[in-house]
Symmetry: C2
Subunit: 220 residues, 2 copies
């Protein structure tokens, strides 16, 4: 059964909203995520239900099926491999890749993806630190640490924040500790837990333990 581009996008959204298929998802939530109207979603859910990639009970939301999960993971795999390509090979910036990858992920060619994976040397994580499912849909989780839990001299990349208030994000932006920044722990002060951190191999940053505890990184 072949899915259209629109169907693939809906399925991916449902997969994400359902936390990888662990909970059911409402029509309104899908509409919000896809930036369409609930009426359009109802139509699409009927189609996806007919194709047996979701289980659809009218008025009671949807659950993704095993087949649907497999399809969604394959789309995610393609998306993330293309993101690696764009950043590693074409020098795209971190925040420039998403839209293009959104188009590239729908190219239909298993050989292309196999060869791309090989060309990129079988990456396990995309530039955002998100895991790339393998061809069977298996994903390697990678633990995220708060900066204050990292050892002196260890390196990594900022992938998320615990506190996503405007004030905190603004502060991070100002000091250059953006999502995606490569970091190295230079020093930790015993007394108050404050830290000295090297950002992108060029800029040294001082931050309180409080701030460090709210920044999540992957270790490399």
């Amino acid at each position: 059964m072949v899915l259209t581009t629109a169907e693939e996008n809906y399925l991916k959204a449902i997969y994400h909203l359902s936390d990888g298929g662990t909970k059911s998802v409402s029509t309104n939530d899908v509409a919000a995520e896809m930036k369409t109207k609930p009426a359009s979603v109802s139509d699409m859910l009927r189609k996806l239900g007919d194709k047996e990639v979701i289980e659809y009970r009218k008025y009671y939301g949807v659950n993704i099926t095993e087949e649907g999960k497999k399809r969604a993971l394959n789309t995610i795999r393609k998306h993330r491999l293309w993101e690696v390509f764009l950043v590693d090979k074409l020098q795209f910036a971190w925040d420039e890749v998403h839209e293009v990858a959104e188009e590239l992920e729908h190219i239909q060619s298993p050989l292309l993806i196999q060869r791309l994976d090989e060309f990129l040397n079988y990456p396990k994580f995309d530039p955002h630190g998100d895991p790339i499912p393998d061809e069977f849909g298996d994903v390697k989780a990678r633990p995220r640490l708060a900066l204050n839990e990292m050892e002196i001299d260890s390196s990594g990349q900022i992938v998320a924040v615990k506190d996503s208030s405007a004030a905190f994000l603004k502060y991070l932006d100002k000091v250059g500790a953006y999502i995606g920044a490569r970091i190295k722990i230079l020093d930790k002060v015993e007394f108050d837990g404050s830290m000295e951190i090297l950002v992108d191999q060029k800029k040294t940053l001082f931050m309180s333990k409080d701030v460090a505890a709210n920044i999540l990184a992957i270790q490399s």
Copy 2:
């Protein structure tokens, strides 16, 4: 004015059928090329006429406009750059690239194409020897020579045949002188014009002047 994928494909077909915009093209010819029905073509020509990429006079065929030519050349540029990528970087074979490139050419991102061009080191020709238009639509023509016109010790790649009869193609297939083969002229016999040719750096081939005259190559 944005063109849909279908519109881009029609425009490209019209560009090719019109020999780069030098002659007008009939509805039936477009239908044959696109493998659709003339009725569908009439609809599409009206749309393309409205978008001013072709000049459309009912019952009298179409001519491509300057704007249309620019658009078609850009699509061709993208197609051929992706073909280079697939062959040079992902080890696709020569005859495996067309369908995938047909999808990739519709990805909308000028930055992507600019970076891809750079990554591929600004290639001027695709793996079939066809020229890649630059960002302004300018193309470098490259002369094609019959093998018997090539000098001893010169190298190149087979790009076309003059005689495309089944018998001739079957013969070429059998001896390994396929379209795309890299060749080197090892010797030419003065007496009868027959030639000795190295194919893909490993196989030596003897052929009559008659055969050589029917194989076209690009010199490298």
